[in-house]
């Protein structure tokens, strides 16, 4: 533990501690409050919601849920399946191929190695939106509109995950392990798959979670590339609720839909929060 001030000044500190707890509780309340209202309203009937807010939950949760599932204009189940499929594929591809790229740069002294590394570091922060136009044109020309492939394949090249895996490799992967595997006569790719990947698994797990969440939440490109009703993902359905002005019809449905988009992630997060929070800093600069 590092120390800001180790001088004991009891009276001075008591005040600060009370203040800091008050402030932290206030901020936590700000973070929790919107979700609290969300969950309460998801259990109330539309007519009750319209009358005004009440802190007491209603009993219409199942009714709202079945109302939403039956609505033919909002294909929730299909959208959930689509979102899970895309996010899972992206998480798998991005972690495997980023590890592979990082391993290539970390382990081999080939010509152009420094160029390759510097290239990836330079393009790391260039946002995908700036090449979206060319990408969409290319997808139209290849008649891949309304397909999931253009949303999944680019996950193979992810500079940020690459950098994270490289940093992790530097701290856990000694050259000796790889060399002894070579002496045993293992093929390079075999060494990577059966010896290196297992060593990287803690970092892969963290990055798989982050990648899943990012793609689950992704709205910009899917909204431009997916047209038909059965290809929609969860964020597109949420946007559709907004544009159809559902507030006038059935608020219960709106709240339950937002619940479906948020609650699964919150549950996963609460289960893995220690792990995830530790992962936040691993790929950033070292101060």
């Amino acid at each position: 533990m590092s120390t800001i001030a180790t001088i004991e000044r009891p009276r001075f500190l008591v005040g600060w501690r009370i203040l800091s707890y008050a402030f932290l509780i206030f901020l936590s309340a700000l973070c929790i409050f919107p979700f609290l209202i969300l969950i309460i309203n998801a259990t109330r009937m539309n007519s009750d919601i319209q009358k005004g807010f009440s802190i007491i939950p209603g009993s219409a949760f199942m009714q709202n849920l079945s109302g939403l599932l039956k609505d033919p204009n909002i294909p929730v189940v299909r959208a959930l399946a689509n979102s899970v499929l895309i996010s899972t594929c992206c998480a798998a591809l991005t972690t495997y191929f980023s590890s592979m790229t990082a391993y290539g740069i970390y382990m081999y002294r080939f010509k152009g190695r420094n160029f390759a590394f510097n290239f990836i570091m330079i393009v790391m922060m260039v946002p995908t939106q700036v090449s979206a136009l060319g990408f969409i044109k290319m997808i139209i020309d290849a008649s891949l509109l309304d397909s999931f492939l253009p949303l999944i394949i680019p996950a193979i090249a992810s500079p940020i995950v690459f950098f994270f895996m490289l940093e992790y490799m530097k701290s856990v992967l000694p050259f000796e392990i790889v060399e002894s595997s070579r002496i045993d006569g293992a093929h390079e790719f075999r060494t990577f798959n059966s010896i290196v990947m297992p060593i990287l698994s803690p970092a892969i797990a963290v990055q798989a979670i982050f990648s899943f969440v990012t793609n689950w939440n992704n709205y910009f490109l899917p909204a431009l590339l997916l047209n038909s009703k059965e290809k929609r993902t969860i964020p597109i359905i949420i946007a559709q609720l907004r544009s159809a002005d559902y507030l006038k019809f059935d608020m219960g449905k709106v709240y339950i839909m937002i619940c479906i988009a948020i609650v699964p992630l919150v549950i996963i997060y609460l289960l893995l929060s220690r792990f995830i929070i530790r992962g936040v800093t691993m790929g950033s600069v070292k101060g």
Binding site: S2, P34, P154, P174
Partner: protein
């Protein structure tokens, strides 16, 4: 002797096979599209109903058009306002929390709980978060209902018809989504500072305030630069929250229309010429920022691993 012979085998060319997928996919999915975006920005190409106009070569006309007809500078200013009004409170609060959390004399309890709670909004889908705020702050929504019941307002506040409130809501959402993340980054920076520096300062009679400004702040500078630039690049990309909150209109009167919302509008209507010009401008700004970040990150970076 077999060992020496083995050592003699040159494995380095294998590196190319390992990095090939990244470079092939990056070229196809990002570099070529980027070049094509630049190329398309020089052509007039849009749709009126079912008829396609263009593509006709028009030089830099699209760039002139987005400034004169579409007032892109207004959207750039909106984006800047929305980013700054969330970033300043965000960095102030995050720094305060990071110092509190890492201070051993504060001995705050329940740190894990607070960290878990304040990081949570970062993982929430921005689209659903915005939809939730839209529902909560609608004219007949729960917030107005609470304000009316508590006697804090006589009539419902029309949050989303007012410039100040709409912008405040967008900034508040971005603040909630990012301050936990920034706190954790700054905290790891503070934890990385050598404890003996604080000890030495204390022995020399420095006050906590002095050691904060003379030790913590200067040594946090690289992390600050990282947070500042990544947040700015993220701010330029601001899209989901204002898009969903205002249904893509940037209402009221386009005061919350961001650059990427404007780009999205042209991409959705297949007006590729103007979309290209907007993309090139956004690329120029983010590209310059990326270079600054790259230089900052690489100044003390080594590819060598600690295990070797």
């Amino acid at each position: 002797m077999a060992r020496t012979r083995k050592r003699g085998v040159d494995y380095s060319r294998w590196g190319y096979f390992f990095i090939a997928p990244f470079f092939i996919i990056y070229t196809v999915c990002s570099l070529i599209p980027l070049a094509s975006t630049f190329y398309n920005s020089l052509f007039e190409s849009y749709r009126v109903g079912l008829t396609q106009v263009g593509p006709n070569y028009v030089g830099l006309d699209n760039f002139a058009k987005i400034f004169t007809d579409s007032k892109i500078h207004v959207y750039a200013l909106n984006t800047l306002i929305l980013w700054i009004c969330n970033f300043i409170p965000q960095i102030a609060v995050s720094l305060l929390l990071a110092v509190w959390f890492s201070s051993s004399s504060m001995r705050l309890k329940g740190q894990q709980f607070f960290k878990t709670v304040i990081y949570m909004p970062n993982l929430i889908m921005a689209a659903s978060f915005a939809m939730l705020f839209f529902a909560l702050f609608s004219d007949g929504g729960p917030v107005n209902s609470i304000l009316l019941n508590a006697g804090l307002a006589k009539d419902p506040i029309r949050f989303l018809s007012r410039v100040d409130w709409t912008r405040t809501l967008i900034c508040a959402m971005n603040f909630l989504m990012w301050f936990g993340n920034t706190t954790i980054l700054l905290m790891s920076g503070i934890m990385g500072i050598d404890v003996s520096l604080f000890e030495a300062a204390r022995i020399d009679g420095a006050s906590p305030t002095q050691s904060f400004f003379k030790i913590t702040m200067p040594l946090l500078l690289p992390i600050f630069a990282y947070v500042f630039i990544t947040s700015m690049i993220g701010g330029i990309q601001m899209f989901d929250v204002p898009q969903i909150l205002t249904n893509g209109n940037g209402s009221p009167d386009r005061t919350s229309m961001t650059l990427i919302m404007f780009l999205n509008k042209h991409l959705a209507s297949r007006n590729f010429g103007l979309a290209g010009a907007v993309s090139v401008l956004v690329f120029t700004v983010t590209g310059a920022l990326s270079l600054v970040l790259y230089r900052a990150m690489m100044s003390r970076y080594s590819l060598k691993g600690s295990s070797n």
